[in-house]
Amino acid sequence: MTYLAKPKFHHPALPKNALGYTHRDYEGAVSTLCAGCGHDSITGAIIQACFELSIEPHRVAKISGIGCSSKTPTYFLGNSHGFNSVHGRMPSVLTGANLANRDLIYLGVSGDGDSASIGLGQFAHCLRRGVNMVYVVENNGVYGLTKGQFSATADRGSKSKRGVINTDNSIDLVAMALQLGASFVARSFSGDKQQLVPIITAAIAHKGAAFIDVISPCVAFNNHAGSTKSFDFVREHNESVNRLDFISSRMPIEVKYEPGTIEVVEQHDGSKLALRKLAADYDIHDRTAALGFLQHHAAKGQIVTGLLYVEDEAEDLHGHLRTVDAPLNALSEKELCPGQAMLDNFNASLR
């Protein structure tokens, strides 16, 4: 971390997005995480994605649980409301917030301890409900704030900094998200901004439960030899299935691709995802095949990354519940209170 206050001024020639905001308008407070922490790269990617999408910064609600990852919402989107809630309980708080106002963008930030250990239940249930959100797990396989204990995503056989070998099986949140019905599932690596930024961008544009597992090495406790979540290990074992380019409905497709290697996916809001397929046999619309692909590669010690599954026209929780278009928190007495006349009828029916 740095002790220097971040200067408020910026270069006048900084590029602006469609709303006239610069990159700086999407930043938050200075990070208090360790220098080199993977989480800070994810923060940077979120800032970049929101800038590129020209989101009004205050229309995002950032909600997190407890842990290093859950601290990061302070470090981006300084003009958004944030909620650092209870360990493992971000999904329920976010679900309630989303029900209250469907018009905001919900960004849930969690960690592997927060989502795979203490919060596994809430992780599962919010995905199966189809809450319209971006659910980012900053996954380092370790508890940082309490000094390096294994989390439930730590691979069996991996070694802690103190030399302890993990004997428990690991939980693969991506496989679970697929099984639970998340309508957008991706995995990326904090050290691969080229891959991560378009995935976050596409997840924000997605309507439904979008889950992104981001392997994010812990420089303090899980970046040593023997760890399977270190920078070196992930770089060596990364098996990327595709590279993504996000094209919002406002942008023309300018990028030229090799014919036959591109798959274009149109999302609910009109945005398009251009996928450069790296694994020729990989179909991002096949949930079952995705699970098989993941497990097949995991058995070989490979970490599959990229956009792994997307359901183009998913229905979210508000769709299931058939709620009104207006945010529930904006309804007044007139719309909510049936008044004495209805009560008279009710009383009469009870005599």
């Binding site: 409301h81 650092n84 679900t95 809430q122 004495q340």
Partner: protein
Amino acid sequence: MPTANPISSVNDFVVRFANVNGSGSASANEMFARAVMRMGIPVAPRNIFPSNIQGLPTWYEVRVSEAGHLGARGGTDLMVAMNPQTFDKDIAGIEPGGYLLYDSTKPLPASKFRPDITVIGIPLTAICNREYTDPRQRQLFKNIIYIGALTALLDMDAKVVEQLIGEQYKGKDKLIEPNVKALHIGRDYAILNLQCPIGLRLKKADKVGDRIFIEGNSAAALGAVYGGATVCAWYPITPSSSLADAFTRHCAKLRVDPETKKAKYAIIQAEDELASIGMVIGAGWNGARAFTATSGPGISLMQEFIGLAYFAEIPAVLFDVQRAGPSTGMPTRTQQCDILSCAYASHGDTKHVLLFPEDPAEAFDFGALAFDLADRLQTPIFVMLDLDIGMNHRLCRPLAWDDFKKYDRGKVMTAEELEAGKDFGRYLDVDGDGIPYRTYPGTHPSKGSFFTRGTSRDQYAKYTEEGGAYVDNMQRLLRKFDTAKDLVPRPLQANAGKLTKYGVIYFGSTAPAMDEAIHMIEARGHTLDRLRVRAFPFHSSVNSFVAGHDFVFVIEQNRDAQLRSLIVNECGIDPVRLVPILHYDGTPITARFIAKAIGDHLDKLKVKPMKVVS
């Protein structure tokens, strides 16, 4: 002839139905209670049921009281014993001179009965076997047949029951005729074969007035609808599940946009109570009115979140329909046993607002009020129901709403105020009442955003672990709690006709029993001033009430005198001055119990009665 004089009473007795759970008896028994009400006689039914779906014993007790006593009375004057499993115990519970109605299809030896009661046998099974071939019909119509017999035995107008059958099966009209037929099979059998009426009789009266007959959970849920709740997140738990069910039902009728058919509400059956309260807090944080309905074990699971909502100052409403604990305890029995676990819920220093409704009408009022209080005070509000209020039909005043009333959304800073440059400090006590302003997420592009956290922060919501800032904030939370004292419903005091040194404090579902007991206590020559506490934090009148009396009895339905502890702790009162009167066997407290406990206590203290009744 029985050895005791048969009880003779008009419009003042207790009928108890002993049935097997899942046999369809509940709706027939409820119809009987409704018929009594329709005859203009106040009635108080209570469902005593096991934690079971089918097969275990269940009872339905109907207290008929022209005088209007709606608390449980204790004892049974007429036992309708339809459950062989509990036959012996049921007979033992009949008052001397009471009556037994039983199925006499299979002859029973005289030793199965008591000499001091009137035994009335009807061969119900034989009648059903003769009349019906379908086993399910034999079972269901048996219930209606005994109701039919009761109309003759108690001298009721059968037309009242016929009308209720018509209303109950409206829309399923082909069920009306067979039910009416069954009713008359029973009635005719009784008229032809039995001495009708017995000493217990029902006579038309005009003592019901415009009162309604409703369960507390349904009324509380309707209060949530009227109070503007839009988000409900809950997890099934007896005895609170019917509150969420009722909210769902009320919303389907009252909260669907007539044009688009879309819902102006969102209800989530969560995966557990932690998620329920998390959703409520997320919705409250985001400016919607949200609640959960639960019982004691659910409150235990919600502890961590409740502390967050207290410290981060997020509105939330919790309906706690209390049941006997600890652990699974007696999940289908009533108690007032979560007072302390709610008042001080969570780790660290916390205090929460509790409301204590006495009946469904107040459950409606407080159910709606809770949302105004939650928004005004930016904190969790607990509506403390119990199984006795929540799951039983209770006669109460009609529900009323002021159409000119506006919701109190509390201190919320708007985009206009922020734009105009008004200083926004999320935890800044600008008005001296301990209540800061908040903003809803998404209000303004560059002003008014803040970070909500359970960690200590300064007045502008900036993270700090500096001791002074922490203490300031905790002190402000106390000031806010002080402000609440004048916002919550005040205690209601009823003074004895003459000056007395003794008082009694009670709350919630104890009210009808206490109202009745006071007459019995007075008849024993003692006088008492009464104070019904309706909320925590306690209004100053609780202190002055205790100060104004030598001794004050505190009546509660728990073992540990939890409200008494709360009064001692929060009002700084010498515990010796508060005498606990405790009833906690899972049955609703009765006037007989209260009158005896207080009467005996006053006698033991060698109190010289101010009035002796010969």
